[in-house]
Amino acid sequence: MNTDKHTPLALIAELTHRCPLHCVYCSNPLELDTRSLELSTAEWSKVFREAAELGALQSDFTGGEPLARPDIVELVSAARAAGLYVNLISSGLPLDEARLEKLVAAGLDHFQLSFQGARPEIAAEISGTTTHGQKLRVLEWLGRHRVAVTLNFVIHRRNMEQLEEMLAIAEASCATRVEFANVQYYGWAFANRENLLPTREQLDTSLEILKRAQERLRGKMRIEYVVPDYYAKFPKACMGGWGRKLMLVAPSGEVLPCHAARVIPGLTFENVKARGLREIWESSPAFQKFRGEDWMQEPCRSCDRRGVDFGGCRCQALLLVNDAAATDPVCSLSPDRNKVDAILAGVAVAPVAVVTESKPEWLYRVNPA
């Protein structure tokens, strides 16, 4: 057993898998938790207390759409009472200004509002519903309340041309932080990957635009950029390392090391209804599985970077080379990097003008029962 003591910094609370949007890149698993399985208000409150006792500082309320929980205001109060900082990661609906006011009064610290693009048409295409106007209204209300605001633009080949327009929305708003997050290829995004992966040229242009914006807006707005790791030389330190910094509680109460961990065969996840969060974090087999370095294969095992990126992402290794213990194949040192290059070669042949004009055949995310 791995006995390294790690303290989780944040609890990712997937409050529900229900969502009014149907985004083609949703990070939820393909098999969603149903409403009847969701933890109650009291059960979540216990999870928040246990997370704080374990040393977690922050809670990320996410989903699905966390606002789909009728008890969302009580949940914010409960997390604050437990001593946690509360981030709400939301599409901005269903919400009106009165409900927002209650959330802020309950102690909401940070509202992270997602956007599917800079224009209503692309937002509708990606989310399979009409949302853009509502998001702009939410942004206006947020400016009247004392809460930190981050805009999160999820970017990909269909909306990367709108980067300057997205920046303009951010600059005209009350946000002090903006994230441009390239789609990560898991769950629904993996199924829609060929229509989402940007070209190398798009990526290079986006890097230039955002570097200039970072310089121009220094001291006014923090700009974060998440690049698509298929184009990277080294993998991302996924979740800051397996079971090192983060834990996720799914709507049903199962505790996972990351959003996508259910794709890995052979892992069983324990439930907060049956066992305390501390025991699960410290000793459950799923958290121990890829903690530390004992599980690593070459080239990770002897690599100087193994303490930097922890071998990359286990779910990506499973999805691309069918071995969750393999080096993340996006790594230039991986013997399987050619598989990622082959995927990128397919992207390179499609000229941008063609890919942005006709609407692809999307697989839209469904809603749980």
């Binding site: 500082l57 922050q58 001593g83 900082y85 610290d109 992270q112 930190a148 981050t150 932080r177």
Partner: protein
């Protein structure tokens, strides 16, 4: 930017210290937490929108009366500028 000595630093929305009973003390902010101790904690505790930068400097010069006064001032101005870059502090 160098903060104006007459401005009053205030923690930005969504940026707050954890409770005094919680250890270690940290400045909580969107997607970040800064661990604070000694002078950094003493500065952040005084970013209340009431004290001016000049007053904060004077108070810390009193606490650290063995340190060189100019050095204390330079360090505080540098730290406040850093917090402003991180969007943790506004000057009103």
């Amino acid at each position: 930017m160098t903060p104006d000595l007459n401005s009053k630093p205030q923690l930005a929305p969504g940026c707050r210290l954890n409770e005094e009973t919680q250890q270690p003390r940290v400045l909580l902010m969107p997607e970040k937490a800064l661990r604070l101790s000694g002078p950094s904690l003493e500065i952040v505790e005084r970013c209340d929108g009431k004290r001016t930068v000049r007053e904060i400097i004077a108070e810390l010069q009193k606490i650290y009366d063995k340190a060189e006064r100019q050095k204390v001032e330079t360090d505080i101005l540098g730290y406040l500028a850093l917090l402003n870059d991180q969007r943790a502090v506004d000057f009103i």
